[in-house]
Amino acid sequence: MEHTHTEQHEGGGTKEIWKVTIILTILTIVELGLGFWMMGMPLESSLRLAVKGAIVILMMVKAFYIVAYFMHLKHEIKNLIMTIVVPLALFIWFIIAFLYDGNSFKHLRNTYDPHFKEQSTIKVEKKEHNEGKHATEDEHAKPAEEKH
């Protein structure tokens, strides 16, 4: 099947490769910009959620460019495109169903398991500032290494 396309995709060439490279670079820089912007936001704000959504959309666009141009899927015959894209559409369902399930499990536990709820509200005290934090991390690290 991969032999069939050799005649078809003469179009594009190096020019297209560089164009896609620039698009991918810009998308990554925008993603990183959004990531840096997001750092200062409050944890549960809806703006933060919106930025995360925007990052996911940019991720999908990047994936499209890699598959369509770098992997030449766009220039393949239609049957191959369908063979790849149609099964992948299952992921839409997988993602919605599983994330919904995870979220519902969280709500169930928070409602019916007081121990779980309590555990997730106890704050671990931070000692001093930077130096103290490193010390606690080392204490954590040692017993963990002994287990190995």
Binding site: M1, E2, H3, T6, G13, T14, I17, T21, T25, T28, E31, L32, L34, G35, F36, M39, L43, K52, I55, V56, M59, K62, A63, I66, V67, F70, M71, L80, T83, I84, P87, L88, F91, F94, I95, F98, L99, D101, G102, N103, F105, K106, R109, N110, F116, Q119, S120, T121, I122, K123, V124, N130, H134, E137, D138, H140, A141, A144, E145, K147
Partner: protein
């Protein structure tokens, strides 16, 4: 056939990432990636440089993907010299990425993070479970293993090019197949990078 193999691989990675997402959605708290991945090689202790190192890793992989396309393109034109040049660049890119990942794993290990041990706190200061490190090391490890095998495949392709195997065959289709695999590795990193480091 490469496409069908990549489909199965895509579902494996998809299953990993969806399982990660499910667990994350079912947890009340999760560590802040900007706190966990804030270090940079050779930088002084306690430096706060979130996202910087991983963005360099991302660009290395994207650039190596571009050189791979150029190698495939040179193969189409039966340009042996071009194939050799771009394959070497791709291999160097892959090796650099692996080096970066080895440094990061080593650094996290020395901070006390490993399978079954998580020194980091949740975003809101509460204690975190080991789910975070387990998923991080499993998924980046599985991806890193793919990068490693991709580099090996590319080295084999380079040797075959240098020994004129493809010139004798009259086509460079094998380079194209290795290229598909390499782009897939890059593609997976786009998802892993977004899921673990950005959001």
């Amino acid at each position: 056939m490469m496409w069908y193999f990549l489909m199965s691989d895509a579902f494996t990675f998809g299953a990993f990432l969806i399982s990660y997402g499910t667990i994350r959605f079912s947890s009340n708290g999760w560590p802040d990636p900007n706190e966990v991945f804030k270090s940079f090689p050779f930088a002084p202790e306690g430096v706060h440089a979130p996202l910087v190192f991983v963005s360099i890793m991302t660009f290395i992989l994207i650039i190596s993907s571009v050189t791979m396309v150029l190698a495939v393109h040179a193969g189409h034109n039966m340009d042996k010299k071009g194939v050799v040049r771009y394959m070497i660049m791709t291999i160097i890119g892959g090796a650099m990425f692996l080096g970066c990942q080895a440094w990061e794993w080593n650094h996290l290990y020395h901070e006390g993070a490993w399978w079954g041990s998580n020194p980091f706190l949740n975003h809101d200061g509460t204690a975190s479970s080991t789910n975070f490190t387990n998923y991080f090391f499993t998924i980046t490890g599985f991806h890193g293993f793919h990068v490693f095998s991709g580099v090996i495949i590319n080295i084999i392709m380079l040797i075959m090019t240098l020994t004129d195997k493809f010139e004798q065959r009259g086509h460079y289709l094998m380079i194209e197949k290795a290229g598909l695999y390499w782009h897939f590795v890059d593609l997976v990193w786009v998802f892993v990078f977004t899921c673990f480091y950005l959001i």
